[in-house]
Assembly symmetry: C2
Homo-oligomer: 337 residues x 2
Amino acid sequence: MKIAVDIMGGDHAPEELIKGAVAAAEHNPSLELILVGSEEVFQKFLPVLPPRIERLYSHSVMAMDEPVDHLRKKKDSSIYLATSLVREGKADAIVSAGSTGAQMAAAVLLIGRIKGVRRPAIVIPYPTLEGDKVMLDGGANPDATVENLVDFAILGNAYAKHLLKIENPSVKLLSNGTESHKGTAVIVEAHQRLAATKCLSFDGNIEGRDMMKGGYDVVVCDGFSGNVALKLTEGVASALFKLVKDEITATLPRKIGAALIKPGLMNLRKRLDYSNQGGAPLLGVNGISIICHGSSKAIAIEHAIVTAANCVERDFIHHLADAVSAYTAEQSKEVVK
Amino acid sequence: MKIAVDIMGGDHAPEELIKGAVAAAEHNPSLELILVGSEEVFQKFLPVLPPRIERLYSHSVMAMDEPVDHLRKKKDSSIYLATSLVREGKADAIVSAGSTGAQMAAAVLLIGRIKGVRRPAIVIPYPTLEGDKVMLDGGANPDATVENLVDFAILGNAYAKHLLKIENPSVKLLSNGTESHKGTAVIVEAHQRLAATKCLSFDGNIEGRDMMKGGYDVVVCDGFSGNVALKLTEGVASALFKLVKDEITATLPRKIGAALIKPGLMNLRKRLDYSNQGGAPLLGVNGISIICHGSSKAIAIEHAIVTAANCVERDFIHHLADAVSAYTAEQSKEVVK
């Protein structure tokens, strides 16, 4: 199996990307990798290629905040070239920690969408007291329609089932109240549609205050609220760590106390650290494109490459396509009735 | 000055509402209060009225999750009767911790809107590392239009200026990125309008991750995202307290450490405790209606009554009306050009 890795994108590119890829190849003898990056980067950081690692030179990078439409002009960019490898059948999957918008655009342009999916979505691992849950869309579709939200639910459900191996995932809809009439007009209608389908187990609305408690597997939301919710969670956690630190070191007894509990706090910090997370596939495109958090370190990149391999092995794209067509079939029956 | 208090609404009604009102009257000799509640409640909890406290009997309550349109049939409910006192000039302001939807509906129905305001908004005190900031809308308008968002900005700015006495408030717009092109179509257009007006200091978009850091005075958002953001902040904070507690008591040295830092953690918890906060006025209605958090205890109710008195003393409604008409005037000049 061959996996393409864009080593030019992300806050810690290229070193951490290269380290992660080299470790993944070393630890997984069945993997072959194609690293995509500039000649200078290879000369400086990886002059000699380790076993089962190839390279492909790129000549530009899609910057983190660069308008996505530049992609069409940057056909020599690392993300364009890496995604092209999947299109051409030279790689089975692609992994990147660069601009999410550019990765999404490259995937839609070069690999295309799964039949029946109007807009692909970004899956976000959302940290809860019970461990990570699935949240989507994480930011690709700020203006999601009712149909988009239903698609996200179908895709997220299939992701939880076939990749996370959860038998009957509990799917929730993010809203400003648990009652079915709460939310924007779009949310209220999406709630009705999700309650009506037999293609997944819809467990109603979830409020912001219950997100971190767990008790669900998948949360569906538009890309705007999803992105606000995710970044808010990161921000609140980091502000609270600062507050806790300030409060517990304000007096001498507390300083001693703080020293004693430091290992516990470090554990906690690690549990919430996005830089260790392993990425998630773009859901709805017709191939495997794994999105990593921009702040990913080597260990996260290694995990993401393993996730990519799992997706390929488990024939994940076929499962997704089956789930979408099952829903489409259910809908056309409804219309016939 | 007379202030009406609905003692029937809120998680801790009626006891904490009554305690808070009695304390407010005791501590503020210039205040007169009219408590609105059922005869049974007065008989049980306040058989003898303290000085400067009157009572008005109500015969029903708008429940927390009751559809707002029931209000028209419940003209004997505590929130309807308390708001009517303001309409009839028998009270200068009304304070409630009951159903926010019902309080908003009663205010719009009985007191009306400020001229030029299409939809009133709920102000939420948002906790940051620098202290509380102003967030609106907190949930009254899930489907906010561009015009609604601009109104919220004008109202929030006037609130920060005239009630919180901040000279030149920094106003931000909640979005999924700091760049002006990020957000839903509505957010992107609202950004352009806010950047164009001279009626306030617009400081661009703010992301979820920066909300708790501070560095602003007012955050404008639609009621859906605002409500999700607020409840998420509460939920993340309470989940993290649980995590911190679990981590720091996992081993004996940590248990000792935990005992030493307990006062610090209690301080911290208090800083983030909504049940101590003092409520905020509904912005955009043509009279003072103070909304308290449903979990308000006596101290919060006392603070809310003082806030109501401040609003009346500072002629807050006139300041709001002036701000709205200044913006309307600026807009009609734009059209003439």
